[in-house]
């Protein structure tokens, strides 16, 4: 199931696919900035193309006229032998958004579908469910709201035993839920949370994945923090979600991905996360990352990044709350192996990993010294120029280490650190430059040698160019003052060296 929905090529060339992906990506970025990021999933059999084109993917049928839609509806309502064929044609036609709108405006159209959907004629029931599913995919809220009368039945069939029908109902609900607040407002009293809590105990991977999808859609609603998350945390869902995420490597990647995103939506929007912490979310997610990293040499399964991303986020946000006391040091190793694994094909994970690395090393002497003694600095420095966000995060992690004192600064300076910081001072991003100045300050503070080295490498000019930038000028000036100090007084760095050499 997980594989089934990872998209298909449908006979298109690689170039067409790339163009399509770029367009979609741009649209998604825009939507996210407007806080309108919603997506729907479509379960569509290949046989959907039976009445139309050969290549089922992506060929949307032409809109039908009002009369044609009415005729289809009549055909479906008539108890004739080819009702099933009419229903199939209707399902095909409903792939078109205009046809969808014309259909829901027709008197009795949803009632007819509801009747067939709740009927005992197994094939018609499935076909009616597929029609409702097509409607749920509409991006017009009025279409989703036309489906309001059918939500109680969609929930009823979730407790049924037909896998295919359950799956259709789940994805239909998941789609309706993001389109309309009215639908959500109705589904909560209709008991969607307890129904999902019992479905999550299903032995079927496909059902679990669908449950995760519905839940992830619900949790993204704007009213989720007040209306939905408390209900979810009060239910049996959390205790089932966590093991499903953690067993994703062995069985059920699709479900693990969905529930990992659910956890992320809860954790990043909820204040205390006491329920999840009490269920052992931190050790569970930590050991998942360890397992995952240890399996990387055998080859990462396709789509693993979709699981890793939310798991990193959950752990990072939880550790921000709890601190890292008693954390397993192997997490640091796992993190770098994960970085290595995804650097090339999914560079977006770099910033997520670095954020976790910051949360591990901030104010934590153990992880700082592990970073140094495991010889992970060269790898960290290589990420310095990966992306704008990565630059700031790597610098922040280096500051976390440098802040620990002279010995740590000295170990940092065994790398060609200053030579790598100098070009960063010319970056246009004031946040990166500012963080670079902070790091230089810590290095100079603990190790006067570093200041002298920096001058030798031409650091003066690099600092002077920021004397006119408002948010940087004070710090640049302070560093220049430090650099210009006569090298008479012994620095902390030299003193420490004397003790330990």
């Amino acid at each position: 199931m997980w594989g089934r929905r990872r998209g298909r090529r449908g006979g298109r060339s690689a170039e067409e696919l790339r163009v399509r992906r770029r367009e979609r990506e741009a649209a998604l970025r825009k939507a996210r900035r407007e806080e309108q990021l919603v997506s729907k999933r479509l379960l569509r059999e290949d046989s959907a193309a039976e009445d139309g084109a050969q290549d089922g993917a992506d060929i949307v049928p032409e809109p039908l006229s009002e009369d044609e839609v009415l005729e289809l509806l009549r055909g479906v309502q008539r108890g004739s032998e080819d009702r099933k064929r009419s229903l199939g044609r209707l399902r095909w036609a409903l792939q078109n958004e205009e046809t969808q709108q014309k259909f829901v405006r027709l008197d009795g159209s949803i009632r007819t579908l509801t009747g067939l959907f709740t009927s005992s004629l197994a094939e018609l029931q499935l076909e009616a469910a597929r029609c409702l599913h097509e409607l749920s995919h509409s991006s017009v809220p009025a279409v989703a709201e036309a489906c309001l009368p059918v939500t109680s039945y969609l929930l009823t069939y979730l407790s049924g035993h037909s896998l295919e029908l359950t799956e259709l109902c789940l994805y239909t609900l998941g789609n309706l839920v993001v389109e309309s607040e009215a639908v959500r407002k109705q589904l909560l009293p209709q008991g969607i949370i307890p129904v999902l809590a019992s479905c999550i105990q299903s032995p079927h991977e496909a059902v679990l994945e669908g449950v995760g999808y519905v839940l992830s859609q619900l949790l993204q609603a704007k009213e989720a923090p007040t209306e939905i998350i408390p209900l979810v945390l009060d239910s049996l869902l959390p205790r089932h979600m966590l093991p499903l995420v953690c067993s994703g490597l062995k069985a059920g990647m699709g479900a693990a991905v969905e529930f990992a995103w659910c956890l992320h939506y809860i954790i990043c929007r909820h204040e205390d996360n006491a329920v999840l912490l009490a269920l052992g979310a931190v050790p569970a997610l930590t050991s998942l990352l360890l397992d995952l990293a240890s399996q990387i040499p055998q080859g990462a399964p396709e789509g693993l990044e979709l699981l890793v991303c939310p798991v990193l986020r959950c752990l990072s946000n939880l550790l921000a709350q709890t601190g890292c006391q008693g954390q397993d040091g192997r997490l640091l190793i796992a993190l770098f192996l994960i970085l290595q694994c995804f650097l090339q094909h999914h560079p977006f994970l770099v910033q997520e990993c670095l954020w976790l690395l910051n949360n591990l090393t901030a104010d934590d002497p153990f992880f700082c010294s592990a970073l140094l003694s495991l010889d992970l600095l060269p790898a960290l420095l290589q990420l310095l120029t990966c992306s704008q966000i990565a630059t700031v995060l790597v610098l922040t992690v280096l500051c976390n280490v440098a802040e620990k004192g002279a010995l740590q600064c000295q170990q940092l300076l065994q790398q060609p650190l200053l030579a790598q910081l100098l070009p960063l001072l010319t970056l246009p991003d004031p946040e990166a430059v500012g963080q670079c100045l902070e790091l230089l300050h810590l290095l100079f503070l603990h190790c006067r040698e570093a200041a002298a080295d920096f001058t030798r490498q031409g650091g003066h000019q690099a600092l002077e160019q920021h004397l006119s930038t408002p948010e940087l000028q004070e710090r640049a000036q302070a560093l220049l003052d430090m650099v210009r100090q006569p090298p008479g007084a012994p620095s902390a760095c030299q003193a420490t060296l004397a003790v330990f050499s």
Binding site: R32, Q186, N317, I333, L343, P347, E352, D363, T385
Partner: protein, 279 residues
């Protein structure tokens, strides 16, 4: 300049990390506590901070976009969709039902819809085990009516709600007002109560509110089941098995039986003695 570096796909990691991951970290050198100022000295502001990030943080943009590309099916996989295996046609093994199938999935759907949650007393079929349990209790348990005189016995149909009511009418009101169920919820049909009993609802009214009576023809077809002619029907799914009429849309060819390897575990009907475990 910035992205050029990203092409360096390998990190200079030290050897032996996998071993350490398995075996655990060696004891780390104990750093002496260093006397450093805990507060940043102005104009410098750095202090180590663990960051909690909210849903709209820019750091999440790339990952969120990737997640949604996946949801929208744009992360194209090279694998093509696996065809559902076709098997030679076979028919349903439940006696009285001889519907024919050519895929296991279609058989499974048929079986689960029509034969899974079946009342052993009246052969009605229900969409879920919960609704079947409630049906058996309310329709076939002789103690139920007696107990219902004394206490609230009609359970709410919504999963997770523990409310009970003294009549099915009260339950219906509750379903409509509290759970926003449709007033004509199809799986909440009261038992026809023998004349003389207190709460009689007009069965005709009940019948006319069934959402599927969208046309005369359709109603005819659904009513075609001799077992379901009583007005109290319709809390359940009708059983086409009992009425193999020419109007039924699915093929009814008598063909080979189901392959013996197919097993759906549980018995087809359920009464008081049947297995109660939900699957």
């Amino acid at each position: 300049m910035r992205n050029a570096h990203c092409c360096l796909a390998m990190l200079p990691l030290p050897p032996g990390l996998h071993l350490l991951l398995r075996e655990g970290l060696p004891p780390l050198p104990q750093d002496p506590p260093s006397p450093h100022p805990p507060q940043p000295a102005p104009p410098f502001t750095f202090a180590p901070r663990r960051l909690r990030l909210g849903p709209q943080h820019p750091l999440f943009e790339d990952g969120d976009v990737h997640r949604h590309l996946y949801l929208q099916g744009v992360l194209t996989s090279l694998e093509e969709v696996a065809e559902r295996p076709k098997v030679s046609e076979f028919s349903c093994h439940i006696s009285g039902c001889s519907q024919v199938f050519d895929t296991l999935e279609s058989y499974e759907h048929h079986y689960n819809t029509l034969h899974r949650n079946v009342c052993s007393f009246c052969k009605r079929s229900f969409p879920s085990g919960n609704l079947l349990d409630i049906h058996i209790l309310e329709w076939h348990d002789s103690l139920f009516q007696i107990m219902a005189e004394k206490q609230n016995m009609y359970q709410c149909l919504v999963e997770g709600c523990t409310e009970k009511f003294k009549s099915s009418k009260d339950r219906k009101d509750h379903l409509v007002t509290v759970h926003l169920y449709p007033a004509d919820f199809r799986f909440d049909r009261p038992k026809k109560v023998k004349s003389g009993s207190k709460h009689t609802s007009s069965p005709r009214e009940q019948g006319s509110s069934v959402p599927m009576d969208v046309s005369v023809e359709m109603a005819e077809q659904f009513q075609g089941n001799p077992m379901e002619t009583g007005p109290e029907e319709n809390m359940e799914i009708s059983q086409p098995a009992a009425s193999p009429g020419p109007l039924l849309p699915e093929k009814r060819l008598y063909k080979s039986r189901i392959p013996s390897t197919i097993c759906f575990g549980q018995g087809a009907t359920r009464g008081f003695k049947g297995p109660r475990k939900k699957v």
